[in-house]
Symmetry: C2
């Protein structure tokens, strides 16, 4: 039996490295542009690396922005419970690390009989800086 992948591949490392160095979400094509010097030439190479990194929780996708950000929560082993705050003015995105919130949402059940294995929450508003302008 083939073991579950433990180490990142070359392209995955390159992409993760780049995304981790940014402290804001990056667009796929901006990543592509910036890793071209490292040999990744085509969108698919970036998207494939991103897919994997999202799958294993190293990177999260900010769905409302089509952008990708490195996971800041060491405990976010798998990308199944994510929450972000997004400033609608400066677009600053912060991953929310709030155990009460994650507990509340992980245990949430509605009357549909559906048990949720995953969620993504995006809050919008104005960050401190932008509010005081």
């Amino acid at each position: 039996m083939v073991q579950k992948q433990e180490y990142l591949s070359k392209n995955q490392k390159i992409v993760l490295d780049h995304v981790e160095k940014a402290n804001q979400p990056l667009k796929a094509y901006s990543i592509l542009y910036n890793v071209q010097k490292k040999g990744l030439k085509a969108p698919l190479q970036v998207y494939r690396a991103l897919d994997k990194l999202v799958e294993i929780g190293k990177i999260h996708k900010i769905e409302s922005r089509n952008a990708f950000v490195a996971c800041k929560n060491s405990n976010c082993v798998v990308s199944n419970a994510t929450a972000f705050s997004i400033c609608e003015s400066c677009e600053k995105v912060t991953e929310i690390n709030n155990s009460k919130l994650s507990k509340y949402l992980s245990n949430f059940e509605d009357n549909s009989g559906m048990k949720y294995s995953k969620y993504n929450l995006e809050f919008f508003g104005l960050c401190k800086k932008c509010k005081n302008k």
Copy 2:
């Protein structure tokens, strides 16, 4: 002073009408294809109508799917607090109408000093039907 728009325009009505008749989220280009017989010829006509309808809360965007669904909550006057359940197998999407959840999230504050005016939450899992397969 010009008043806030009260009635929908021609294109907005056409698009909303079509989206309301579907009971699942629709893609923008699928909407376009289906309203062409009503005279809307270009993507922008659909996107502009959708933008407005989303803004006034008649339609919500399912961000993770790039799809649009009519609001089922009569109280969802403005599209500022949305929650959905999404089946990862059959892609059925349901708008969650749970006052406890919406109260909890509307009042949520973290330590960033940011006050949220809006949120979107998407739960993923298997619906009843798909779970029993």
